[in-house]
Amino acid sequence: MTLIQATSPDRLSGGDEEAFVTTNRSVWQRLLANPTAMASIIMLTILALSAVLAPLLAPGNPLRVSPADRFIPPGAEHLFGTDNLGRDMLKMVLHGGRTSLLVGLVVTVISMSIAVVLGAISGFYRQVDVVLMRLVDGLMAFPGIVLATAAAGIMGPSMTTVITSLSIVLIAPSLRIVRGQVLVVRELQMIEAARAVGVPTLRLFTRYILPAVSSPILVQASFIFSAAVLGEAGLSFIGVGIGPKELSWGNALTEARNYIAQAPWIVLFPGLALMFTILALNLLGDSLRDILDPRLARRR
């Protein structure tokens, strides 16, 4: 039997409410049965573990300069080689990942939370919706990195600045998706029934609407995570990110580009780590979407 996921209006009819519950309960099982999803989960576990365990795996200050060890190619002693200041690249990549993933996680949580609240309001109140959607239109078309660059210049480069500006920029696409889902779900009979028996709006939202819109939120969250990691790296790379005293993959690449001819490995490894992360998150998002919306999966 195929499970119906009611994410699109044409799939919705009176009896489909049950599909929401069934879908959400078995997401894990179906994720585990999907090879792409499994691969991405394994990749993300490796990344998370290496970030958390970085101080144990590579003890010592990753930014410690050692002039005698400049430009050592990858080998037994330095697995990823050393950079122009004699810093161990493996250490830089492991410790840099902590910042990159932390920023990604925090930005995802902040922007998705705001998007869910505003999306729910937007889906329920037409007057607010008109204003919010125009704001979203404005934010969606404009390149977020340019806004974030301007913000970093004004507020000064720091982790807080990066998190704030990326969160603001990434609210817009998620808000649009949550709102669309809420618009679909609010027309369901179960919501009508709940309203008829007098369930208060807040409870209606937390108890009935939120669970029903959680699947697309989950898919969106993995894409927002990857956009946030990429955004932080891009901002830090051009020097308006987390600031030179902190270490992230983007920061590590900033100076590396000046030595690309002499020591290509210092460009290679932080970038590979970045790509590996984004790939894992994109694969997770893709397979989640396939699992949650079989209508799309058919075409892949």
Partner: protein, 314 residues
């Protein structure tokens, strides 16, 4: 058609004003005195006060907002603090490079996307399709600034086919221009081309299932005509639709690409202006990018309306 265009034009206004208002608010509401920061430690109190008056910072915020709106409407964006000349004279010098870069990158992305998507869909589930799909997933995950560094290492440093950095304007000749714009445009276009490949592939697969394609084939039309004339035109529509979003994304990505390849474009100008706290120039840069995007989106809407007559009557 005119009514349709008028409606589209109104919808584009938020695209121009939302980013500008955000930057305006950030600038005015963030702690610290911009005038003091712009002039540095050695400035006297009189100098700071004079600059505050010149920038209108001593006025209430709503007056500042109205003055700022007036400035935008009359295209008087003030003087750059660093260059000491009108923003309106500086920005166009840089904007051309960025527009060129984005247009070339967008063209590359659309060409690659449509071709690869088509090849993939026509060979569904064969090895070549799997190869394209896998490459597209990798392409979407490729940070463009890192890809740019890889391109430089392979094609400029090792093979020496292209210069490492620098820019020749189109007036310097097609080959000179192409040699400096190709690598940056490729780096900037690669993620979007991967996205477009996936989009083209899935929309082509959908279109090939449509009854009118079956009819066309049943009538004995040659396959090249069925695909080239009937299927492709419909399938390419979603790709055209996202071109506007892609262009916006590329204008953002152009910041890093311009820095890496030392292209004298808007993105680099913006980062330098941000570094120098040259706020009038920052606002001018953001305004220009908004305007470029608005014009581009309007152009895409036009193309869309020409391709699909139904759009005009909605």
């Amino acid at each position: 058609m005119l009514r349709y265009l008028g409606k589209r034009f109104l919808l584009i206004l938020p695209t121009i004003f939302v980013p500008l208002i955000l930057v305006f608010l950030l600038l005015r509401l963030s702690p610290g005195d911009p005038a003091g920061m712009m002039l540095g430690d050695q400035a006297t109190a009189e100098q700071i006060a004079a600059l505050r008056t010149q920038l209108g910072l001593d006025q209430p915020i709503w007056v500042q907002f109205l003055l700022w709106l007036k400035g935008i409407v009359t295209l008087d964006l003030g003087n750059s603090i660093f260059f000491r000349e009108p923003v309106m004279q500086i920005v166009p010098r840089y904007a051309g490079v960025t527009i060129m870069l984005t247009l070339v990158a967008l063209t590359l992305a659309i060409l690659i996307g449509i071709t690869m998507g088509l090849i993939s869909a026509m060979n569904r589930n064969r090895p070549i399709d799997r190869g394209v799909v896998t490459t597209a997933v990798l392409g979407i995950s490729l940070p463009e600034f890192w890809f740019a560094l890889l391109l430089i290492f392979i094609f400029a440093v090792t093979l020496r086919w292209f210069p490492v950095a620098g820019y020749n304007p189109p007036s310097a000749g097609v080959i000179a221009f192409a040699s400096t714009i190709f690598l940056p445009a490729l780096a900037l276009g690669v993620r979007q081309s991967a996205l477009m490949t996936r989009m083209m592939r899935s929309s082509m697969l959908d279109v090939l299932n449509e009854p009118y394609i079956t009819t066309a084939r049943a009538q004995g039309l040659p396959e090249s005509k069925v695909i080239g004339q009937y299927a492709m035109r419909t399938a390419a529509m979603p790709v055209v639709t996202v071109a506007g979003l892609s262009a916006g994304y590329m204008l953002g990505g152009a910041v890093a690409i311009e820095i890496i390849f030392a292209l004298p474009g808007l993105g680099r100008m913006l980062v330098e202006a941000v570094g120098r706290r040259d706020y009038p120039l920052v606002e001018g840069g953001v305004l220009t990018i908004s305007l470029v995007l608005a014009v581009l989106n309007l152009a895409i809407d036009l193309i869309y309306a020409i391709l699909d007559p139904r759009i005009r009557y909605q």
